[in-house]
Symmetry: C2
Subunit: 209 residues, 2 copies
DNA sequence: TGTACATCAGTGAACGCGCGTTCACTGATGTAC
DNA sequence: TGTACATCAGTGAACGCGCGTTCACTGATGTAC
């Protein structure tokens, strides 16, 4: 649990401690939640002294940023794959479901992603790297592919924002006990998610994955 | 700033320290954000020793619960008033806008409210006290008043959940820098909020307050 | 191929800090007679 | 109305804790000659 190498096999130099630290942070998040994510705990989890991370990150915030960044990349991938699996307007639905399911499967990571974004007051939705399209841009583009008018910029942007907010809201709500009766009635959390997204009118004909 | 009484006027016994602590916590939240909300800081802000709160709250969590509870009451009031100011279907819109605006005006309190809820995995939407109707129930009821079929229970509940999630998502997103251009184009944050809510299709004919 | 040496990437001890909580205490209040 | 006393609601000092960060250090690596 503490580190992947046995004590003797591990060399003094790590090889790629930066990677190992980000991975350790993710493991900690899954296991203990965001409140357990201290620099010292991450170093401990990676099997390294508390000072070691400072050779790879300026401070705690920079490590957290790296973890968050990785989260966004994971989300992008997840959504790209979900879209590729569908045809036509179903693609929008698939994007919405993929978004919410990602957040539900990695609630602590999702939280860290938005905490980091809030600290900067900026969502990582701008595509600096053109071949790593952001999830946000993917939603907008998919809307255009399926009939939204790309010249009506304000409309298009508003529709994208609305979808994004709706999915985020559902992602944060879906865990509450009050909805478990409804989930059961509909046949599980996935069905619940699809049903709520459908009601939001932004993801037409939502259905189960 | 530290406490309302001058040093000499303040009696040894406080009168209503419980109230004063909750108020101090709210002041701290507005001024410094959720991360500044320690038990000791609250006691300090209320002008009292670090041990004093323990005569009124079992532990820190109980104090936070009280702060969160007060937040929900404020939100209820705010939404009830917003609804009363409108007629017909505009009422739903007014509820949505009131919700988001409350969250935007008290972002730290809003955060504490949901953090407390998440700890219990339960939203405070059940109406134990029948004459203090929860905001959530108000939304559902308003939908019924304006044409939703109260016998189609699942439909009604899903629509309410969808509205709630959508508003929550927007409330959490509205602060990001990426949207400031859009806000300016639409004439301010209120207009932006109204426009996004309208796009969500749950709050028909959203317009400015 | 071998050696000197600069650089890199770790260690572990220490720093000061604010935290939640407990404790023995004491001043103020209210009630019984 | 006055007094004894139980109870209530504060104080302030202390506890142990984990945190982020710094520091002087050292082991390992890689490069120049």
């Amino acid at each position: 649990m503490r580190d992947a190498h046995s004590a003797e096999s591990r060399p003094y130099h790590h090889g790629d401690l930066r990677r190992a630290l980000v991975d350790a942070a993710r493991r900690l998040l899954e296991a203990e939640g965001p409140s357990a994510l201290s620099l010292r705990a991450v170093a401990r989890e990676a099997g390294v002294s508390p000072a070691a991370p400072y050779h790879h990150f300026k401070d705690k915030a920079e490590l957290l940023d790296a973890v968050a960044h990785e989260g966004w990349l994971m989300l992008n991938t997840r959504m790209r794959e979900a879209k590729a699996r569908q045809q036509g307007r179903q693609q929008l639905t698939a994007l919405g479901i993929a978004y919410v399911c990602f957040a539900r499967e990695h609630p602590a990571l999702y939280r860290v992603m938005y905490d980091a974004a809030r600290d900067k007051e900026a969502l990582p939705i701008d595509t600096e790297n053109p071949d790593e399209e952001s999830a946000y841009c993917m939603v907008r583009e998919t809307m255009v592919e399926h009939g939204a008018d790309p010249t009506a910029q304000t409309e298009l942007e508003l529709a994208t924002i609305a979808s994004w907010c709706a999915a985020h809201g559902l992602a944060e709500m879906a865990g509450f006990k009050q909805f478990s009766e409804m989930k059961d009635a509909l046949g599980g959390e996935q069905a619940f998610i699809a049903a709520v997204l459908q009601h939001m009118g932004l993801f037409p004909h939502a259905h189960r994955d």
